[in-house]
Amino acid sequence: MSAVPVDTATVGPPTTPQGPRETAAAAARRRLSRPWASLAAVVLAVLWTIPTLGLLVTSFRPAADINKTGWWTVLTDPRFTLENYETVLSSESSQSLAPSIVNSVVITVPAVVLPMFLATLAAYAFAWMDFRGRNVLFIAVFALQVVPIQVTLIPLLSLYVDINVSGTFWAVWLSHTMFGLPLAVFLLHNFMQEIPRELIEAARVDGAGHVTIFFRLMLPMLKPAIAALGIYQFLWVWNDLLVALTFAGSSRDLAPMTVSLLNLTGTRGSQWFLLSAGAFVSIIIPAIVFLSLQRYFVRGLLAGSVKG
């Protein structure tokens, strides 16, 4: 392609904001008249945020108001209280979520670290090591994503009883690890394949064994991918209900926030004042984790899905 002026319609230096070249989306959008595009985007964003906003506002309203009027009335008749949060966070009330916050943390961290690490090892082997049945095994691992958790409940619980870990955190850690492995192996494998073959070859020529390559070469290069997957696994474990319910039960010692939240609906029906505050307490930590580590997530997921 010979040198052609980027934009014959304007006189002067290129004006596109992202630099001299423009993405398809930006081009498409530029042609749509800008204000309409912005408006559409704003409308969508507002629509998407209203539900959450509604519940957030509700969580600060007095209980009596919640059942009588809608949350939008706070615009004309504001009345706020911290009572709902107090009930939900204080240790005095049996409706408190406080103990379960700690449980959620204790359940989630190992349930992220363990599968991530094991999956990385396995993915490396699938990507860069040659062994019999490699392809078949890989497809099998990937395909096992289809197994719904419910079918594993009783067999696994029996197993845990037999090896004496039921009623402890290990039951939950092991379960989450097992369930998280197929997808993790699959995605990490994709990332690993992108590392140029030459680098590995060079290292092997230098006499490095696989273990060395894994620790010295792979892990550093895969940090974004591992971070991305780690976040995804974190969100998944933190927000899980069924695994926690079955393997951790509702004991105050073990139950994470999702189980406590479920019980908040109690025998008193739609207690929105508690549910709203409870829901937000349980949303805060994952929301923070996600927001602060967003860019890894985007980059990581992208790398696994786009080829060429």
């Binding site: 049996s94 619980l157 037999d162 039960g249 025998t267 739609s270 805060i284």
Partner: protein, 458 residues
């Protein structure tokens, strides 16, 4: 680039700080409140009563149940004397998926020490897993002393006695407002016909629908309709027909149940009668059962058929008394001579025979516990709990509803029958019956509903 980095670092720091703050709040609170709720001080009980249990310091007994807040508090409170006098610890765990999870846990070999089972049908299911242990002799002795034979039979499966009864509830009650009745000159009906006439009167004169109802209850949605139907099978067919129906000696869609359900339909599916305060007939299906009777307080409806435990759902401070804002009358029989009473109860099922578990079971089946529990309920949840334990001291019950229920329960002339859906096999009683009842409310015909339930019988 640097600016972006800084921003991200700040966000991360802020995020971590917030998260830490949250966790620390949890930590500090947890350390403080570790042992249990503040609540009322444990009633002083003579520890001499507990000596026979021995010293159980350091031992823990786990209880698993579906009874969550607020009814869990009186239970926890009632075990405190046991804990204090024997040194054992009672770990009360509850969640709303109890009825499914207990089966999972039993089958997997991970049951709690004790489960509070609200249905004889579920009890049978659990016994079938082989993990339930029969009740210890001391418990059987208590049950022989304090309960009638029919209660002991309900806690037995195939002749072996497993589970002592705990609390009970009376279901043949209609909630109403005495003040409203007084103001309008309405009388409490004593026969079914009078109930019908009263409903018509209210529909015509009062400007609101006479009945209100709610059957919403998540996975158990529809269960209040089963109570209505059971009450009417008792009244239409009599206690013997009821027994045949529950034991599947007559088909679920045979004549008597059909008549009974149609009789219920004259109330629940009658747009002239329902759904006061909520809307049309189908709103019954989406109104939570806990909210079902509340419109009485607002004057939006006048009659609500529900069990004795419903008292806990009225706001604190409501005057629940014979001449107050809210009270209940016995759902009348066909004639004044007939007094069929539908009720339910819970059964204390053990999966372990450790000494501390047996000690707690013995305590639980005694009159001491019954009175402690009744007192705790009065203190913490405004009553709403009674038991068929004959050792209960009725003077403890300050709640007029409890007094009424206890009176009905212990009436010599009453013919007591246990809630049918609780006795049927799970496929029917915990599934098809509820589901088809809900569909029946939202439009399905009586015939279709009953046919489907009959088909679901294993």
């Amino acid at each position: 680039m640097n600016g972006m980095r800084k921003r991200r670092n700040t966000t991360t720091i802020a995020a971590t700080a917030a998260a830490l703050a949250l966790v620390l709040t949890a930590c500090s609170d947890d350390d403080g409140g570790g042992g249990g709720d503040g609540g009322t001080a444990a009633p002083t009980v003579d520890c001499a009563d507990f000596e026979s249990y021995g010293d159980l310091s350091g031992k823990t007994v786990t209880i698993y149940t579906g009874i969550v807040d607020p009814e869990d508090k009186p239970y926890i409170e009632s075990f405190k004397p046991f804990e204090e006098c024997t040194g054992a610890k009672v770990d009360y765990q509850a969640d709303k998926q109890f009825e499914q999870q207990i089966v999972v846990r039993a089958e997997a070999g991970n049951p709690p020490d004790i489960a509070i089972v609200p249905q004889p049908g579920l009890l049978a299911q659990l016994v079938a897993t082989g993990k339930v242990v029969p009740a210890p002799d001391a418990v059987a002795a208590n049950v022989d002393e304090f309960w009638g034979e029919d209660w002991k039979a309900l806690g037995s499966v195939d002749g072996t006695f497993y589970a002592a009864p705990s609390g009970a509830s009376v279901k043949s009650l209609v909630w109403y407002s005495p003040q409203e009745f007084e103001a309008n000159g309405w009388e409490v009906p004593t026969t079914l016909d009078e109930l019908k006439t009263l409903s018509d009167t209210i529909a015509a004169d009062s400007g609101h629908k006479p009945w209100c109802a709610g059957i919403g209850s998540d996975a158990a949605t529809g269960w209040p309709v089963t109570d209505w139907m059971e009450d009417f099978v008792l009244r239409v067919g009599g206690p013997d027909a009821y027994d045949q129906w529950v034991n599947h000696e007559i088909a679920f869609n045979s004549e008597i149940p059909t008549q009974a359900l149609d009789a219920v339909g004259e109330y629940l599916k009658n747009p002239e009668y329902v759904n006061g305060g909520f809307g049309d007939v189908s709103s019954i299906a989406t109104t939570a059962f806990q909210d079902g009777g509340l419109p009485i307080l607002d004057g939006q409806c006048s009659l609500h058929r529900q069990a004795s435990f419903y008292a806990a759902n009225f706001p604190q401070g409501t005057d629940i008394s014979e001449n107050g804002q809210i009270f209940a009358f016995y759902l009348p029989g066909a004639t004044t001579d007939e007094k069929p009473v539908l009720g339910a109860g819970e059964f204390v099922t053990a999966f372990s025979d450790r000494p501390e578990v047996q000690a707690l079971l013995e305590f639980w089946s005694s009159d001491t516990w019954a009175n402690l529990k009744a007192q705790a309920s009065v203190d913490l949840t405004n009553g709403g709990w009674i038991t068929a334990n004959k050792g209960l001291d009725p003077s403890i019950l300050t709640n007029p509803i409890d007094q009424l229920s206890a009176e009905i329960l212990l009436d010599e002339n009453a013919v007591f029958r246990f809630d049918g859906s609780d006795m049927m096999p799970a496929a029917v009683g915990s599934n098809a019956f509820w589901k088809e009842a809900t569909n029946w409310i939202t439009g399905q015909s009586t015939k279709d509903a009953l046919d489907k339930i009959e088909a679901a019988w294993p």
